[in-house]
Point group: C2
Chain length 539, copies 2
């Protein structure tokens, strides 16, 4: 008998599944978002070996991968999905794409047919390695029960590799059920690569030269640079040098609100980005890339930096941005305190029509300190965002890969990672319908999530895009593919169908009342929802 | 000005999207199941050019691909999906897997970034060709607006290639928006390959030899062989030779009920298949493969034919099974009439507990002639199926690839293909939650679908499998991943939230009443649902 981490007696690893689960527990894995099938039954049975490991059942795999992403962003360590062959991984693909784009560490454990069964081309057989390769940084197919544990240790370390990777381990059913010698040793996780002093000096020199030439410097932050000490070092540098701090429209995670340094968020459309950056002569990149438009448009450039603006990489995504920013602050003599946003006058409670401004003001006034805001509110969210600067300090999580249906699952995962923090999920109605099943897991896990569905009854961003792309004469069929009014979705009924309380607000006053009531309690709540805006005020 | 197929005036094709849509309309495409994004806006705008083409908006891409599959099975021609880059195709993957396994002709039109935008690695960039390749028989990435139409014509023909393929055409946004010369000519669709006389004679000789040796012959039918004249030819052969007719557990489409020839359905579990086949000395394969177990299990064989049983291929999936069966009937002198199932005594209306037998009896008594039964009822469905033999003649569609969440979308698609036929969708609760969004499209399209959710509050098949795979000591965590009771799903609320009427039955009497009421009307209805069975009779 060996002893589990908490000292309880533990059965020896008897098969590949047991050895794998023991190894992952020792590696540090705690959260598994699962929708298993027959080929994963031994892995499922092995979960009860580890009291520290919590499987969360999700009703569709897009919830598993979105939740793993949300968990990983908050816990800053890998979360796992447990998936059933090709279809399970296919269903998880879109939110794995978001995780990949957000540099979130996610480990996919994908069951497959037993090695000898593959040759029979049974109905669930597919080209699983090709599918996995299309969305993963790392893919391995375990060959036997004897290698499953060691492969799992390596896959976990690959997921954790800076800045965070999607690693997929394919597990034939017989590698789970056959006898194994026991767990493998956890693999060391490679630390972020150091940024050498010469690089820091080059960037410092470029910043000084730009300033001396009367130019304007920006620092585009991502990853580590957007929270904690690195963000404060960046703010010191900005204060000392006059450089402006920027983040992407869709930064994976940003510390924000009263008490955090202020960062300018780049707008969504290229023609809005260009004027923001037009004075820049140098852009310093911290785990980020030069800004480009989200989509291309006829006759418009994708590149958003002004002609002649230089770029200087302080830290690539896999490098140690924290150390690099500290070193840059030193090199530039930026020793003063980081300027932090102060509490301002919040104004009165909003009244009247339920606009994005009203929602933003209500959230700024009522959001508790330390909240996690998970934002997939699309068109409406861009209007709510500025108001949230006046809220108490919080984390703001964004949809990084453009695959909608991420917000609800990510809110679930964030809440599992940080059970003592209030999660507020801001979501568009179109995107919410992509993964509405996440509400059920929130109810089951009693996750402390308040979901606010911004129901404008349309894929509103596409109604904007349809005109922007200069499509000729769209007619009723074209418009019908962007419209969600026939029939109207009733999110309160959908939420109740999955065990989540819900209410509906149509005015700012109703919204404030329901928001306060919801925030005063723990537990998942889908509402105040059906916030109605602008053109759709007749609902 | 050219003229549309219905004689209405039509604008000339001005860009790649217009030329592509005109070409696909001329090729025969009618149904497009869509969830477009920015990169597909020109394709969307082009849809209004063609009155004969109907885009159906779906709230998640798993609905688009499942509906395309269901449509293609009933219409016997390709349906299209319209998808948004990698995430759209990823979301569609699982039901494309089912379509591929069912040999359904499906054409995916996947928008991508403009060619020049790809280099910037914008957030929605992914390895789209690799993803497409993992589930498609055919993949092409159009390079320009000048080739879009010709590529579409070829992709459509590839989808239609016998027995039906998944073809994916990736369309960079600039290939849609740039100027094009006009539509391309439709490509000829390759007919099924002929089965030559020598092959038919070989099979006939093998069947005679088996019979002469006192053996037993089976014919395993799939594809064309399971409906219409080929099925009747198979029944004549069976009557003349004593051969038994079989189909897979999960035949894509089977003509069934009173007035159709009877076919034995192979059971699901290998240990159930083996005794059914144990007397066979020869199995003739018609667009089918030798039966194997769905999953592998420790120490059990995957192959289900008895030792020494010969196999003989009459027609491979891409071959002309209709002609081959007609020729085989001739070669064997099977000239008598095909024996057809006759109407029997249906018994009284079921009463008491709502068992699978009761549901089956109620359906047999009340299903209208010509119904389409879409069956993803899993454990419960296997119990309902035998009773349906006594129903009037109908088509029975099955989940072919094991990727759950197919039934509701397929029912939508089948109804679009056959709007004058009643569609009855039998669905398990676990699978229904995978693509419950399909209910909204049913409501929007006023599809004549009655959905019956068999709510046993569990992934019941997995509860069976957990014991079958001999997993050691599954504990509470293991069992929790197979359980749907916390919280209980309320499908009537979910349906109403998407604009579909719903009701709930807990007894056979309630079920019969609600079934009759629902069948007496057109239109989508989700109910009688929450049928409660067996171990879960306390709900």
């Amino acid at each position: 008998m060996t002893a589990a981490a908490d000292g309880s007696p533990e059965a020896p690893s008897s098969n590949g599944a047991d050895a794998l689960i023991d190894t992952l527990a020792a590696s540090g894995l705690r959260a598994i978002f699962a929708n298993p099938g027959t080929s994963e039954m031994h892995l499922v049975a092995a979960l009860d070996r580890r009291p520290e490991m919590s499987p969360v059942l999700c009703l569709h795999e897009t919830v598993t991968s979105g939740a793993a992403d949300g968990y990983a962003r908050m816990a800053e360590r890998p979360a796992a999905t447990l998936l059933h062959l090709g279809p399970g991984l296919g269903n998880a693909w879109a939110n794995l794409h978001n995780a990949r784009r957000g540099a979130s560490p996610v480990l996919n454990l994908v069951g497959d047919h037993a090695e000898d069964h593959l040759r029979y081309d049974a109905p669930l057989t597919s080209d699983l390695p090709a599918l996995a390769g299309s969305v993963s940084h790392y893919v391995k197919r375990t060959r036997s029960a004897q290698t499953a544990a060691a492969d799992a240790a390596l896959a976990y370390a690959e997921a954790a590799r800076a800045p965070g990777q999607v690693a997929t381990l394919i597990l034939p059913a017989d590698a789970a059920w056959n006898a194994a010698a026991g767990p493998a040793s956890p693999q060391p996780v490679a630390p972020p690569a150091a940024v050498d002093g010469a690089c820091v000096d080059r960037v410092a020199a470029a910043m000084r030269a730009a300033k001396a030439a009367g130019g304007s410097v920006g620092i585009l932050l991502r990853g580590q640079g957007l929270r904690g000490a690195p963000l404060r070092d960046a703010a010191k540098i900005a204060a000392a040098t006059g450089a402006r701090l920027f983040c992407d429209t869709f930064a994976p995670r940003l510390e924000r609100g009263v008490g955090a340094p202020a960062v300018e968020r780049l707008p969504y459309f290229a023609e809005q980005i260009t004027p923001v950056l037009e004075e820049l002569t140098l852009l310093v990149l911290v785990q980020s890339s030069p800004p480009v438009s989200f989509f291309a448009y006829p006759g418009k450039p994708s590149w958003c930096l002004p002609e002649g603006c230089e770029t200087a990489y302080l830290a690539h995504p896999h490098e140690d941005a924290a150390q690099a920013l500290a070193d840059l602050a030193t090199a530039l003599g930026a020793s003063g305190p980081a300027p932090l946003a102060e509490a301002g006058a919040l104004g009165g409670s909003p009244t009247g029509p339920l606009t994005a401004d009203a929602i933003g003001a209500a959230l700024a006034q009522n959001t508790p300190e330390g909240a996690i805001i998970v934002d997939e509110a699309a068109t409406t969210g861009l209007g709510v965002y500025p108001s949230l600067a006046a809220a108490p300090r919080h984390d703001h999580l964004n949809l990084t890969g453009g695959a909608i249906g991420w917000g609800l699952p990510a809110a679930l995962g964030a809440s599992i990672a940080a059970p003592d923090r209030k999660v507020i999920c801001l979501h568009g109605d179109g995107g919410a319908m992509y993964s509405v099943q996440a509400l059920w897991s929130m109810a089951r896990e009693q996750a402390d999530v308040l979901t606010i569905i911004m129901a404008n009854r349309a894929y509103a961003i596409l109604q904007i895009e349809l005109s922007r792309v200069q499509a000729v004469n769209p007619g009723p069929k074209a418009h019908s593919t962007l419209d969600l009014t026939r029939p109207a979705l009733d999110f309160t009924a959908l939420a109740r169908g999955m065990g989540v309380e819900a209410s509906r607000a149509e005015t700012a006053e109703q919204f404030v009342d329901q928001l306060r009531s919801a925030l005063a309690r723990r537990g998942p709540r889908d509402g105040p929802d059906d916030a109605v805006f602008q053109q759709d005020a007749s609902v």
